[in-house]
């Protein structure tokens, strides 16, 4: 019979009698400390919403992929300043709404932003799930078709950045790389960051 022969027993034996008994002081102390730590873990999140500068809240709304495509094309037409092998380079004014479109296996367009200025970066997909991963800053967001994720971003350094897709999107997933250029207030790209682009 797997019933304990004494009060002191292993987890393989049924406890004798009522098992709801007071815990030892040491055990209570650990539970209290662990609980307090869990409250710290919890408190940090609302606190960061109030005091921190990095929050994934954004403006979130549904959008038809076709509508997002049209909006991105308008955005490109409005602010295009050049191109890189056919991919438009777009330099929107600070404070504006910026559109970045993900589709297998490309990011459209190339963005040219100013250091220290805030933009609302709208991310969405035309087809499947994609992952927005800004390299080498290491900032990551999930992108879904049908959802517009509008994040207020402020680049804190200038340079030539990359956008890596980090959600599996099909067999060409690893070729999906985009580009973000950040210039300083003098219009110069000072710090070289992402790659070896000429």
């Amino acid at each position: 019979m797997p019933t304990a022969q004494s009060d002191t027993h292993t987890g393989l034996e049924s406890p004798r009698g009522i098992w709801w008994r007071p815990a030892h002081r040491a055990e209570k102390t650990w539970v209290a400390i662990a609980f307090a730590w869990c409250m710290v873990l919890f408190a940090m999140m609302p606190l960061w919403h109030l005091k921190g500068n990095q929050n994934p809240s954004g403006i979130r709304r549904r959008v038809e992929p076709a509508a997002f495509y049209r909006r991105t094309q308008e955005f490109i037409k409005q602010y295009q300043v050049g191109d890189d092998r056919g991919m438009p380079i777009v330099a929107p004014p600070p404070g504006s709404e910026v559109y970045l479109m993900a589709q297998t296996f490309m990011w459209t367009p190339i963005l040219k932003l100013e250091q220290g200025k805030e933009y609302t970066l709208h991310l969405s997909s035309l087809d499947v799930n994609h992952g927005f991963s800004l390299y080498p800053v290491n900032v990551n967001f999930q992108i879904l078709p049908g959802y517009d994720y509008g994040l207020r971003v402020t680049p804190t350094a200038s340079g030539d950045f990359r956008i890596i897709c980090n959600e599996f999107c099909g067999i060409g997933h690893h070729t999906m790389v985009g580009r973000v250029i950040v210039v300083d207030s003098a219009g110069q790209e000072v710090v070289f960051r992402g790659g070896n682009h000429e």
């Binding site: 987890g11 393989l12 055990e27 940090m44 990551n140 879904l144 890596i164």
Partner: protein, 576 residues
């Protein structure tokens, strides 16, 4: 009505139902076959991510990544858990298998589902990876296979509860369930919740794949993760139950306080499902309030549960040792522990790596804002390989070293290898997970064939140290794979070609039988008196002072890691 046939186990004196035993055996064997498939895929994947080797072509890398995920996380682990549920609801209660036919039906249903899924993945008809996020679409039979598998598993949880009711009615045990069975009950409850979510999401997805209904990609992610993450919580509950079991079998670990341990299990049931929300922290579908409430406030109650078990399991082990006379200093109980018993070493590695690496990284990266610097980088698989592989799989391996003599009645083959297998596996996984995590902190993406981006329109140059990190990660992974293959060889040879255990005489060591069975860790007759003495110690560290020191080391590591991550986060672009 009761036609069950029993044998009496000569080692433990327990009654073992023949049908239950057979079901435990087949589920365990299929589980190990799935482990083999998953481990072969693992070696090929790791040799591809090692950029200098880059073995597989892109198509096969992604395909085998899917095979690896399914075979390991679903088939290996869930078949093993089915064995645990059958075992816990019969053998541990001296009870009978109350629904053997249904048990076999569900087993074959699960095998059928698993074969369908494997077939479609290997033949390239389901290149959607483990998560199968729509609108990526697989062959409809892929989803049907998962549904059949889940229905089979759901039936087994039903049999488990039915067995408990029958055991209670037939009074095969007195009073409350033993703690290990109680833990298995919580695993089964979480399994029901999880599998229902699986049905809720995979049935519509199956219909969607046939073109019969639309599918929202965010709703899929929300409900799918209530399956995908919660199934890891079945693992956690089952693993913790196995911790208590292995502690008892190997060194006579005691239950410090039933109330505390059982309450911690209840916290898992109540709060763990919310943990699925931390996969959606940087998703566009949910707002900050939803994210904070679900991932922090509620999930942290499950974190609390793990921190409680993280104390009570080692403290129970320490007490078990002290009660058997190993009372020297703070850590004499650890030094004098049976480190050559693979059941024991597996238990220790499972607890330590799960807690220190898996637990600390998991809670930290599951924080709403910190997730920005983690999501879909290698930090994420770095975390879950520490929990589910180093934690759960390691515990299951440790349990197998006892199941082989107890259930299969065979000696463990290649005993010398078996003694070092946990060291190989845990050591390899430790290196693998730590270096994977480091690589991830450089932004290296997970699920990615080529981080040299040779075919991409813009070049990406990772910090050169990344190549080194990935190479060390690969070596750790290959070491762990050697440990996994050793385990598979030991298990298969023991089960099918092993020597029968024969007659055991307590106190006489037998090659291939763990010391917990040849030298059962019995407590002295005056154990309650001794226990009382330990509990009345004037020391502020309490009756298990060594464990108290260890948990504070753990807490310190946790605090440092957590705040270092906030510091790193504060350095990235401003986002709101």
């Amino acid at each position: 009505m009761n036609s069950a046939t029993f044998r009496v186990c000569p080692m433990t004196g327990r009654r073992v139902d023949a049908q239950a035993e057979a079901l435990v055996r087949v589920n365990a064997v299929v589980s190990i076959v799935a482990l083999l498939v998953g481990a072969i895929a693992a070696v090929l994947i790791v040799l591809t991510r090692w950029q200098a080797v880059h073995l597989l072509p892109a198509e096969w890398y992604y395909r085998l990544l899917g095979v690896h995920g399914m075979s390991m996380l679903i088939f290996f682990i869930i078949f093993f858990e089915m064995a645990v549920l059958h075992f816990a609801s019969t053998v541990l209660l001296d009870a009978r298998m109350a629904a053997p036919r249904l048990g076999w039906f569900s087993f074959w249903l699960m095998v059928l589902g698993a074969l369908m899924v494997e077939w479609l993945m290997w033949t390239g008809k389901a290149d959607v990876l483990f998560t199968s996020y729509p609108p990526l679409k697989a062959h409809p039979l892929f989803y049907l296979g998962i549904i059949l598998f889940a229905v089979g598993a759901l039936i087994v949880t039903g049999i488990f509860f039915y067995n408990l009711v029958v055991a209670k009615r037939e009074r095969t045990y007195e009073g409350s369930l033993p703690l290990v069975v109680y833990g298995a009950v919580t695993a089964a409850i979480i399994a029901v919740i999880t599998l229902l979510h699986g049905a809720i999401i995979y049935i519509p997805t199956f219909l969607w794949s046939l073109g019969l209904m639309p599918m929202d990609p965010e709703i899929y992610r929300l409900i799918w993760w209530a399956l995908g993450h919660s199934s890891q919580q079945i693992n956690v509950a089952a693993m913790v139950a196995i911790w208590y079991m292995l502690g008892a079998l190997t060194i006579g670990a005691v239950v410090l306080n039933e109330k505390v341990s059982r309450s911690a299990f209840v916290l898992y049931v109540l709060f763990i499902s919310m943990a699925s929300a931390h996969h959606l922290l940087v998703d566009p579908g949910m707002g900050p309030a939803w994210k904070v409430v679900n991932t922090s406030y509620f999930m942290y109650m499950a974190v609390l549960a793990s921190m409680i078990h993280g104390f009570t399991v080692p403290a129970g082990m320490e007490m078990g040792q002290r009660l058997r006379g190993y009372t020297q200093g703070l850590f004499g109980w650890l030094r004098k522990a049976p480190w050559g018993d693979p059941g024991f070493s597996s238990l220790v590695f499972s607890v330590v790596v799960f807690g220190f690496v898996g637990g600390i990284t998991g809670v930290t990266i599951g924080t709403e804002q910190i997730n920005i610097i983690v999501h879909n980088t290698l930090r994420s698989p770095g975390h879950f390989h520490a929990t589910v592989v180093s934690g759960t799989a390691m515990a299951f391996m440790g349990a197998t070293y006892y199941l082989i003599p107890l259930i299969f009645r065979k000696r463990v083959a290649f005993w010398g290898l078996a003694k070092i297998q946990p060291y190989l596996f845990a050591g390899g996984m430790l290196v693998f997970t730590i270096f994977m995590t480091f690589a991830g902190s450089f932004g290296v993406p997970r699920r990615h064939w080529d981080i040299s981006f040779s075919q991409a329109p813009f070049d990406v140059q990772f910090n050169p140290v990344v190549d080194l990190l990935l190479a060390i990660m690969a070596l750790g992974g290959l070491t762990a794979a050697v440990g996994a293959f050793a385990f598979i060889a030991i298990a298969v040879v023991s089960v099918f070609f092993g020597k029968p255990i024969g007659e055991l005489v307590p106190g006489v060591a037998v090659v291939g039988v763990p010391q917990g069975l040849t030298h059962p860790p019995r407590h002295a007759a005056n154990v309650d008196e001794l226990n009382e003495q330990f509990h009345n110690t004037p020391s502020r560290l309490g009756p298990a002072p060594g464990t108290m020191v260890l948990v504070f080391v753990f807490l310190a590591a946790f605090v440092v890691y957590f705040f270092v991550n906030w510091k790193i986060l504060s350095g990235v672009w401003k986002i709101g």
